[in-house]
């Protein structure tokens, strides 16, 4: 129960299908942040598979990097949890789901997000409420590494270190930010315990799931790369929110090559 049972081979197939449908969707509706959606899916897909499909574990989720909604909606659709948000993503339908994460898309989401730096305080507040109510439901907060520059991260972390909540902060560390600041991972590691995992390693993904299962506060840096699974398109700033045209899409689809070591 505490371990991911999904076989590596099947996970690879899921990741391939997920990458494909994210790229196709972005092309067809001319919208979506494909870079962060694909990098986040690398670890979020097995996590949601474990929590929702293999087990039905009570948890709450905040997608603080709300622009990766396409990734979340794609996973929900692929795993047959809720197909509507992906189907109805950025359409003309008045009930369509817009480009940032909407809490109505998934019953585990605590908040609609989009503006960076809002997720962690909300997740902490919710988790504190759980602690007061003697509940052990874990709260998972997914952030991007760029978002760690927001003041609210540093503010919240002052409480994180003291409140001992059952909260899992998972950072999609795709390292695509190029600002003239300190190396933020080194800064965080200098005073907090951080678990650094490689999202392209099957055993690290399994380790990540074990950490999510453990009670108490956890910070995980999942090392990812934007469009790592599309050869020649890896880690290019233009694919943060860039939309592939039809030619680029067909080239990308040809070059999908899922990276997943043992």
């Amino acid at each position: 129960m505490n371990k991911l049972n999904l076989e590596k081979k099947i996970l690879k197939q899921y990741l391939e299908e997920n990458t494909k449908q994210i790229l196709q969707k972005a092309n067809s509706i001319k919208s979506g942040h494909i870079g962060g959606s694909v990098s986040m899916s690398q670890f979020l897909l097995p996590i949601i598979y474990y929590l929702e499909i293999e087990n039905s574990i009570e948890y709450r989720l905040v997608l603080s990097k709300g622009h990766a909604s396409l990734g979340l909606y794609s996973i929900l659709s692929l795993l047959n949890i809720n197909k509507i948000p992906f189907q109805n993503y950025c359409t003309n339908d008045p009930d369509s789901f817009h480009g940032h994460t909407c809490k109505n898309s998934f019953n585990k989401l605590l908040a609609s997000t989009g503006s960076l730096g809002h997720g962690l305080p909300i997740a902490m507040g919710y988790s504190y409420a759980q602690k007061l109510s003697k509940s052990i439901i874990p709260t998972i907060c997914i952030m991007g590494d760029g978002e760690l520059q927001e003041g609210t991260f540093w503010e919240s972390i002052l409480h994180f270190a003291r409140m001992k909540l059952n909260i899992k902060i998972i950072i999609d560390f795709n390292d695509s930010i190029d600002t003239d600041t300190l190396k933020i991972d080194e800064a965080i590691k200098s005073f907090l315990e951080v678990h650094e995992l490689n999202a392209f390693s099957y055993s690290d993904l399994k380790k990540g799931i074990e950490l999510i299962n453990a009670n108490g506060p956890i910070i995980i840096f999942f090392r990812t790369v934007k469009l790592a699974n599309v050869k020649n398109y890896e880690s290019k700033p233009q694919w943060h929110a860039g939309i592939p045209n039809t030619l680029e899409l067909s080239d990308m689809l040809d070059k999908i090559n899922i990276k997943l070591e043992d």
């Binding site: 809490k103 605590l110 908040a111 609609s112 989009g114 503006s115 730096g117 809002h118 962690l120 305080p121 909300i122 997740a123 902490m124 507040g125 919710y126 988790s127 504190y128 409420a129 759980q130 007061l132 109510s133 003041g151 609210t152 503010e155 919240s156 002052l158 409480h159």
Partner: protein, 308 residues
Amino acid sequence: MRNTLLKNISQKLPTMRDIIVLLGDLGTFQMREARSLCPERVINFGIMEQSMIGFAAGLSKGGYYPITYSITPFLVDRAYEQIKIDLIYNNNNVLILSAGASFDYSNLGPTHHCPHDVSNLLSINHPCIVHPFTKIESIKICDYLIDHKKQAYFRISTSECELDNSKFKKIKKLFLEKASKKPNFFEKYESINKNRKNILSVLFGPDSKFLNNYEQITKRSRNLITVPIITPKTLKNLAFEIQNYDEIFLFIPYEPSSLISKLLNYLTNYTSFKPSLIKAIHPKNIFFDNSYMKESILNNFSEETKIM
């Protein structure tokens, strides 16, 4: 009003177990006993208003009713996006208590002034803005908000404004809810002098009394309306009331634009309504880089805007 309210909340904390107070390093002295009695539910969250509002949103989502307390500009200006997204867009009800309405901290300078709080909150559709006229009214409204876990912005002023009973009689109360124990949307007063012209003065909060020409205009008014709570329902009812007057003076002791536009929106429902004058009296939108008393800013730097 501040001490009264914090005392009221302190007394509720031991029994009302779904209240959590987050202090922005303000009010720690007044809340010290409550904090020692309920250390898990009275948190001095620190000087981080944005995270405090976000955290409050999470608490609200988790079934609690958080009360956040700090100085107005640090809550409303600095944490504006958190109020907009985490509270209003995400439907997380939180009671924001703010100290320092408009120019309460006048001597501390423009960094501590916040005359645009109400306007900014109305422009993001904040559903309930409170500025009580007296301590008694403040307790009544606070109890109501806590009992019903309302999304509310509570603007605590250092001044009180009780109307002179010898000159006006109370003729009408409109309630937030039907039960009479609930706080009033607004109260309507009539002058004991029946010969006055058909003039209405509307007071938005206790600081109205400091605005220019307050004395002269209210002395000429047949009726006065005090508005302690601004909700869409208040404005709708207010529009209904004011259509019957020739001249209307709105005393708004803060930046008035959003309030006026929302009120006008309701007034347009009354097509036969033809007042000769609607005027808003409000403070000028400038920075005061000198030391003025609050009364002096509101009185000497007030401006009259003709609306109709």
